[in-house]
């Protein structure tokens, strides 16, 4: 039996998502992305995304940090180290904090109708987290976070039993657990681990090395 202890002892990060914090995340994501480009385009970093272009829409809910981590322990690869797992959850939290409901999406090729993104899933996702907690208490008399991974997976499998085979875009996930899983399994890190090499999709890098097989991942990264 796998115990649900991994990740415990981490310094959890439970501050509520204030509007200022959301703006900070939006701007930092832009700056981080520019730094990833390397020296040639660092000139962009400082002015990557002026605040005036980030409507602060105000998400309705911060998602319970402990429960998200408990889901991550149960649903993300066991082979992830604690630090990797923490990184995966924090990345999801940052993504959620900067999510803008009903945002204008990229126009489809030749489409004359402007598409908009999903609405705020906060209330629904928070309710789902509370439900996981309720079920764990009722069925196993422990909190969801303290349940064993097998118990957690049993609960999760029931709660997401109507999901499709493919992972949706995280913002379109009907269940918060699927959103967290989709966010991770569509990530650069998951893709690299799957292939065992550093594909680093969507990362800007020189064309000089394009014809080489991406470098092999080493040790812990696998």
């Amino acid at each position: 039996m796998v115990q649900g202890s991994r990740g415990q002892g981490q310094s959890y990060y439970r501050a509520a998502m204030t509007p200022d914090r959301r703006s900070f995340f939006k701007r930092s994501a832009a700056v981080v992305s520019s730094l990833m480009l390397g020296d040639e385009v660092k000139w962009n970093a400082a002015a990557a995304l002026p605040a005036k272009h980030i409507p602060d829409v105000g998400l309705s809910e911060a998602l319970d940090s402990d429960l998200l981590r408990a889901i991550a322990v149960a649903a993300l690869p066991e082979s992830l180290e604690s630090a990797d797992l923490e990184q995966a959850v924090r990345s999801f939290e940052r993504w959620w904090a900067a999510f803008e409901p009903n945002a204008e999406l990229v126009h489809p090729y030749g489409g004359w109708i402007i598409p908009y993104g999903p609405e705020d899933r906060g209330p629904e996702w928070s309710e789902q987290l509370m439900k996981l907690e309720r079920i764990a208490q009722e069925r196993f008399e422990v909190s969801f976070a303290r349940a064993t991974v097998d118990q957690q997976r049993t609960i999760l499998a029931e709660e997401i039993s109507d999901q499709d085979a493919s992972f949706p875009e995280p913002a379109r996930a009907e269940h918060v657990a699927v959103a967290l899983m989709a966010h991770y399994f569509r990530s650069v890190d998951a893709n690299n681990r799957c292939y065992g090499v550093q594909i680093d999709k969507l990362t800007c890098r020189s064309i000089d090395t394009a014809s080489e097989i991406p470098p092999t991942l080493s040790g812990k990264a696998l």
Partner: protein, 530 residues
Amino acid sequence: MTNRIETDICIIGSGITGILTAARISELTDAKIVMVEAGGRTTPVRERLGRRRRFIDYGENPWINDHIEDQTGEGLMYRSMVVGGCAMHWDSACPRFSPEDFRQQSLYGVGTDWPISYEELEPYYHEFEHRIGVAGEPGPPEYDPRSGPYPMPPLPLSYNLERLKEWGESSGIPFWTQPWAKATTTEYGRSVCRRCDTCHVCPTGAKYTPDVTLDELIKEGRVHLISETLIRKLELDVQSDRLAVARGVDRNAPDEPMEIRAGTFILAAGHAWSSHLLLLSQSARFPDGIANRSGMVGRYMTGHPYMAGFIDLPFKLYPGAFQTNSLLSRMHARPGPIDKYVRHDLRIWDSTVGREAHLRDADGKIQFGDGIMDDWRGRTERATARVRGYYDVIPDRDSRLTLDPHARNRFGDPLPRIDFKDAPESEDLRTHTHETMEGIFKQMARAGDGHLMSTNVRYTMEHPGGGCRMGEDPSTSVTDSYGRAHDHENLFVIGAPTMVSGGCANGTPTFCALSLRSAEEIAATLPSRS
């Protein structure tokens, strides 16, 4: 109070064709050029990096203010209405048309020959490629006739594309690198492509976008741009059929009409809005609209559908690094003598289709953790190739843009509606075309010991054009081969609207080559540059 402007040349539309035309005319003459654009400025270069991040994370539109809410229509038309036009977010593929595209009737007995040959247009393709900076490798001369090399070497093939090229050519089809307007050297002042794989919004400026050229023209005083101004009507001179005035409105000051008087008018508003403006411009002498004595404005709307397939192959690839580059073959666009008219191009990309992580295993059971990873790894031992071909269709006379009486913008102008229609000779061949292309996909799959997983057809027209078809006969066309309206000697329609047919390659290089040729013709009517 009416805002009045007088100029030598008025260009309506600030997309890539209008901008390149302005650049060329300003090299040849001292003519005063005013460019009018209904849209405003979109995301500046310094913000594209941050917008790219949100495009990746949330699918958000990285191009701010890139459309006008009530300036749209029904049918295939792009919503982008901005300074720089649709090429602000193009992927920048730059294949040329083939000589056969211009001679369908002579060679195959279908459609209509263009009033211009590939050979006449070739120098302008060359000029276009050198003017904006295209990176490419010439294909075999029999499939890719050209007078000179591209100005920059091609984007290098990724490991994946090298493997796929080997596989693709094992079926007897030659493939080469798609030409792109992305820098592989620094000679154009752009940074070298860093294969970020989000060409829709290039974060480094390696991809050519027309706003760069326009800003230079403005800075040098060669073009005066009036943005956020919608031209609503063209009017004739009182005593002749020459155009005299473009009337519009500043969208920020709708109570102040705009009146632009010019010696020459250039309509560069793309496949939808060019015909639309001509149809809106009705008068006693031209009750069906400007340039429409023949009734041909809005007819023969064209473009091309595509058929795509996914092929499972027995080797490992590493998709995700440089997936925007692709392989191209023009072999089937130059088929030689054929019994039935089927012409198409062929492209190959590496793909993640069938190679993504799944929530459920093959038996439909929900999986977690390393179970997902193991299942995923199992499916990545093989590769997926995406193959696709644009195929040529002959437009019907009733493939048409009309004014929609049921939809109007805030100024009360009826909006456009486009209903594409294939001519009978293409409609009759649709099934045969799809079977032929599927046969080629299967042949390719067999050559690599793989199998065709699926196919799909997109029948909405890509790279649309038409509506102001060029031709020698004024009773069956709107303009001559230079885009000069048969009915008005000082009105030129440039780019996509003048296309006779959609060919089987991306349209922009052809739109631009035609426009550069028009620019020389227009400049010849004006005093040379001092």
